[in-house]
């Protein structure tokens, strides 16, 4: 009896010995042995001169393009939750440019909050600022929606980050209680045209991908540069306000 017990014991031991050899490589980390030594390196980090020398010719080329002033904004255009000065400014610019380029009626300009990559500071605006705001190569497109789809589009974006011009959308919780386009209540029997980026037209809500788009052959970024330049030519400045376009209660 003892013999068998010992045999089993030893077999187990041998098995474990093998296990140790194979298993040691999979040893787990011990979380109690690491320290958080997060340390801030301040401006005492000197830029590597060889790297700087290599960057310089590229930087010079860009500076010549980017430092050109194109206009002026009286207020800083920032991104905030819901309706924002930056969102209103960009969606207004989109609608205005779409209406000058296209011969067809355009009802709404739309831009997604995620597409606005950087705020615009108060004062002079340069080409570089617009590149920061809109680095992507997105183009302006028109999408026609039936009144019913338009309602779905608004409903889908309740509480989400979409900026709209020429529109007032009010929702209580998940319920759309008011939708005005050009000051007139949404008519589910009519058709509406939205100007948006080609990216947005392949994004959300899913049905938007199934709709035909019309390219206006202008980049989102260029549209904003022209918008500023035209304002400047008219001795105008940019000064958007928060007007209660998006109200999510």
């Amino acid at each position: 009896m003892n013999y068998y017990i010992n045999l089993i014991k030893n077999s187990i031991s041998v098995l474990f010995l093998i296990f140790i050899f194979l298993g040691c490589k999979n040893t787990v980390f011990k979380p109690n042995t690491y320290a958080n030594k997060s340390s801030k390196i301040d401006s005492t980090i000197v830029a590597d001169s060889a790297f700087e020398a290599q960057i310089m010719p590229f930087r010079k080329k860009l500076d010549a393009i980017m430092n050109r002033k194109i206009g002026f904004t009286k207020v800083a255009l920032t991104k905030t939750e819901g309706e924002s000065l930056l969102g209103n400014f960009v969606s207004d610019a989109i609608l205005e440019k779409a209406r000058t380029i296209s011969t067809q009626k355009v009802d709404i300009g739309a831009v997604n909050n995620g597409g606005l990559r950087s705020p615009l500071p108060q004062g002079s605006i340069t080409v570089g600022h617009i590149f920061e705001l809109m680095p992507f190569e997105n183009e302006l497109v028109l999408v026609d929606l039936t009144g019913k789809q338009m309602k779905q589009y608004f409903e889908y974006h309740i509480g989400k980050k979409l900026h709209l011009s020429n529109t007032k959308v009010r929702a209580k919780g998940k319920i759309l209680v008011e939708a005005l386009i050009g000051g007139i209540p949404l008519d589910t029997m009519k058709t509406y045209t939205i100007a948006m980026s080609d990216y947005m037209a392949t994004s959300e809500p899913p049905f938007i991908k199934t709709l035909q788009t019309k390219k206006l052959n202008i980049k989102f970024r260029d549209l904003l540069i022209y918008y500023f330049e035209e304002k400047t030519a008219k001795k105008d400045t940019v000064n958007p306000i928060i007007s209660g376009r998006l109200v999510f209660e």
Partner: protein, 303 residues
């Protein structure tokens, strides 16, 4: 109780005589090998520091400063590996005008060992990306994109094994689903493969090749509210990945987060925000018999 403690305790009770020969084996060869892993993610063409314009990120970052910092660490540490987890491209005019040339050149000079592909690395299409690759002397590792529908099959590799003082470090890349992020005309019918299945396959492969440490360069994102696959979920679903160097969600983790899954395996998940504001650093110590690993995590702000 972790797996190791469990085994040791079990040996003490069941091992009888054999355990006496066991202890010196474990206790010997205490010489340590130190490995320093440096990492960035979502650097987004930030060649220059952010301008001083009052933004939260004002004056931070800059590749020339990153280069100085990396050089300094290389002087202090013998075994350094340097990785990026994707979205090297897009975000400043350097990309719009030069297509990523300078980003790759400077990273090569910093001595990057590997990167994976982020969704924005496709912004000029696969052809735009391939045109830039001669500027990079490090590989783009991606295991869960299948290029069988286009002619990019031989452009990328799924994993690479690095050796430092006899230590074998297996590194594989995992990319995010294209839906809603990369249009078909840019990815050219590249197929996205489930990251969980692919990671299991990679762990198996790298374990077979006797890797002591398995690292995943992931562009999945740290964590989502919905059930979408993320670094956090990957760590829960796949045992065997020691470290996930993450990206995409621009998450600033002050230190790596350790995730223990149902099988008791612990994975360290790290991510250092974006734009090269921080350089992540993980120091690991291996005893010479490789049976023990200890680690320290820190991130350094470049300002």
């Amino acid at each position: 109780m972790n797996r190791r403690d469990f085994m040791q305790n079990t040996i003490l009770t069941a091992g009888g005589l054999l355990i006496s020969s066991q202890i010196p084996l474990l206790a010997s060869n205490k010489k340590e090998i130190k490995l320093t892993i440096l990492h960035t993610n979502d650097t987004h063409s930030r060649i220059d520091p952010f301008p001083n314009d009052g933004r939260k990120t004002s004056g931070l970052g800059g590749m020339s400063r990153r280069a100085t910092l990396i050089k300094k660490i290389r002087k202090e540490e013998k075994n350094v590996l340097l990785f990026d987890s994707g979205d090297i491209f897009q975000g400043t005019p350097y990309f719009n005008y030069f297509g990523g040339e300078l980003e790759y050149k400077l990273m090569s000079q910093m001595g990057y060992d590997a990167s994976t592909l982020g969704n924005h690395d496709f912004d000029n299409g696969l052809n735009g990306l391939r045109k830039m690759l001669p500027n990079a002397n490090f590989p783009m590792l991606i295991s869960n994109y299948d290029f069988k529908n286009n002619d990019f099959k031989n452009t990328f590799q799924p994993y690479k094994i690095f050796e430092k003082e006899g230590l074998k470090i297996g590194v594989f890349g995992i990319g995010i689903e294209f839906e809603g992020l990369v249009p078909e005309n840019l990815h050219e019918k590249t197929l996205y493969i489930d990251p969980v299945e692919k990671s299991k396959e990679m762990v198996k492969e790298l374990t077979t090749k006797k890797c002591d440490l398995i690292i995943c360069l992931s562009h999945l994102g740290y964590k989502y509210e919905e059930n979408k696959i993320s670094d956090t979920l990957l760590a829960q679903k796949v045992s065997g990945i020691d470290i996930i160097l993450g990206a995409h969600t621009h998450t600033f983790l002050d230190k790596p987060v350790v995730i223990k899954n149902n099988e008791g395996f612990q994975t360290m998940v790290a991510q250092v925000g974006w734009a090269g504001i921080k350089l992540g650093r993980i120091d690991l110590t291996f005893s010479k018999d490789k049976s023990e690993k200890r680690y320290e995590g820190m991130s350094i702000e470049i300002s």
